[in-house]
């Protein structure tokens, strides 16, 4: 056995350990969700269910969690996330075009402001925003939450999207202008198709922000029929803390869409957050 083989072997072994450490909690969640109750609480835990069952999923999906159907929560969550994506995507595209294509007074100020507001603790703002929403009579309204989510998704979306807009060669737009296209036409026929991948990445980011959000939904929503999936999960967890099979089934249903989206978008996300951190 030569040393280079040994080194490669130990590196790969370390890689496998990291992989297992990273995915194990999620696998354990999925595995618990498919286990019958006697296996969940057996004296010797099994890594995989010996007798897989969908009873917990059946329980969650068919209204066992609360008096309201699971599909209502799912609809609320999807609706919130999609509207947040559409509004913040549109506004971010406008602002990203402004900072990537124009040089104007306060441009730097605007960019610095975007950095600062990304750091504002949502946990602190929940108190005044609750008061505002209450005074506006928008407690229990998904619209109130959408507005808040747009606010929190927007700064990062702009930051991420401006790189994509800047990457579109300006000559293309100039060519369109020479051919007589107006600014609106140029925007829709030239810029929009070219930044579409960036828009997709940004949209998934906003989607995840809205989909995962807990504290505002928990504070603003009182009526059970308005709950989102995370609030449903917390409510169920708080009420029946020992029904781990059903809790894990509900967690699985909440988590898998996010993981799928995330794996799709992650590279762009890293580059958005730390872009340019290394410059020669």
């Amino acid at each position: 056995m030569n040393p280079s083989f040994f080194r490669r072997f130990s590196l790969n072994a370390a890689g496998v350990i990291v992989f297992i450490g990273a995915v194990f909690p999620v696998l354990w969640m999925v595995s618990t969700a498919f286990k019958p109750n006697d296996e969940i609480f057996s004296v010797t835990p099994h890594p995989v269910p010996f007798h897989p069952t969908v009873e917990h999923f059946d329980f969650v999906l068919n209204g066992g969690i609360a008096d309201v159907s699971f599909w209502t929560y799912l609809r609320n969550s999807v609706l919130l996330a999609i509207v947040t994506v559409l509004i913040s995507g549109f506004l971010a595209l406008l602002a990203a075009t402004a900072v990537a294509r124009y040089r104007f007074r306060f441009r730097t100020t605007f960019l610095i402001m975007l950095l600062v507001v990304q750091m504002v603790p949502a946990e602190a703002l929940v108190i005044p925003l609750f008061l505002d929403v209450k005074h506006l009579g928008m407690i229990d309204s998904l619209a109130g939450l959408i507005v808040v989510y747009v606010g929190f998704a927007l700064p990062f979306s702009i930051w991420m999207l401006r790189g994509f807009v800047a990457a579109v060669p300006k000559e293309l737009e100039e060519a369109a202008a020479i051919d007589g296209a107006g600014s609106i036409r140029t925007f829709f026929s030239v810029l929009l198709p070219l930044v579409a991948p960036g828009l997709v990445a940004t949209s998934i980011f906003s989607f995840i922000t809205a989909w995962n959000e807990f504290i505002f939904a928990y504070t603003f929503l009182d009526d059970q029929t308005k709950y989102t999936l995370p609030i449903m999960l917390q409510y169920f967890f708080g009420r029946s803390g020992n029904e781990w099979g059903s809790i894990m089934a509900a967690s699985t249903l909440l988590t898998l869409p996010v993981i799928a989206f995330f794996l799709f978008v992650q590279r762009r996300m890293v580059s958005g957050l730390t872009s340019g951190a290394v410059k020669g």
Binding site: R8, G15, V16, F19, A22, V23, P25, V26, W28, M29, I40, T44, P45, L91, L94, V99, R101, I112, V117, M119, V120, A124, L125, I127, P128, L129, F130, L131, D132, V148, V150, G151, L154, G163, F164, A166, A167, K170, A177, S183, T186, W211, N212, F214, I215, W244, I247, I259, L263, Q266, R268, V270, S271, L273, T274, S275, G276, A277, V278, K279
Partner: protein, 325 residues
Amino acid sequence: MADTATLVRGAPATPAPPTPSRRKWPKLKFGPYLLILPTLAVIGLLLFWPMIQIGIMAFQKVGTRQLRGEPAENVGTQNFTTIFADDEFWLSLQHTLYFAVVAVGATMLVGTLVGLLLNRLGKRMSTFVAGGVMIAWATPPITAAIIFTWLFGTTGGLVNWVLDRLPDWLVGGGWLDYNWFGTPLSTYTVLTICVVWQSFPFVAVSVLAGLRSVPGELYEAAKVDGSSPWRTFWSVTFPLLRPIFMVLLVLSIIWDFKVFTQLFIMSGLANRDAFNLSLYAYSEAFGSLSPKLGVGSAISAVLTVILLVVTAVYVRYMVRQGETA
């Protein structure tokens, strides 16, 4: 190293935003202002105005009557004297600080080691491991908290079972019915593991992206000079990646300082001994039948000021790096 920035950005390679030309595109005088106007309105209304409100409400009594629409009464610095005289506040602050130090330290350490490992692995293995690491990152905070509560559960929890099986001379005995959520220290131990598990991937992937941008010749030169891996890391890798480490450090501090959802799930509002600042503020504001939004705002103001100081360091750094150019 002109093209390192491009590499760090990953795919698609978005070059540094070119300096916009003076030629207006398209010819609209107020164009850029119109384009950023909606964003300014949203951010102003949802982020700036509430921050000012925190500043105002911290000096007011805002309770049930104010929630019904009555005007708030000014109480001067009373909210602050109340919280500063409250042991709960100092305990929460202590928890917040200790947790941030330990969690940030562990996140940076684990993340950097995994990033270095990913860089050394072969292409396919690296992609495979990075994919797994992404899964930890992608898990929503609320499910992460619930999964770890289950893993560390008293009845049927996997961790207690494993610890019970390990030899007593190594880990001690009596683990089978150990309640991890009984004391602040053990609660924070679980919280730290949960938060580090979720946040090390971001550090790892960023460090990996940075490492890929370091020219290989530098390492060859270090090798020729007989540098040990330890020495190479501190003399070559670390100085080159210092900007990345700086950004990661600041972001981690900010994220770990205000952790709410995970602690809320694991410990909850009833367990006052284990509060951190966010939970303490929330509990004062909404936790009881007589909400005290003024006191909650005062605590939030303290939290916000601390975070703004950290943010100031971050922004100064980003400006110096030319990110706002």
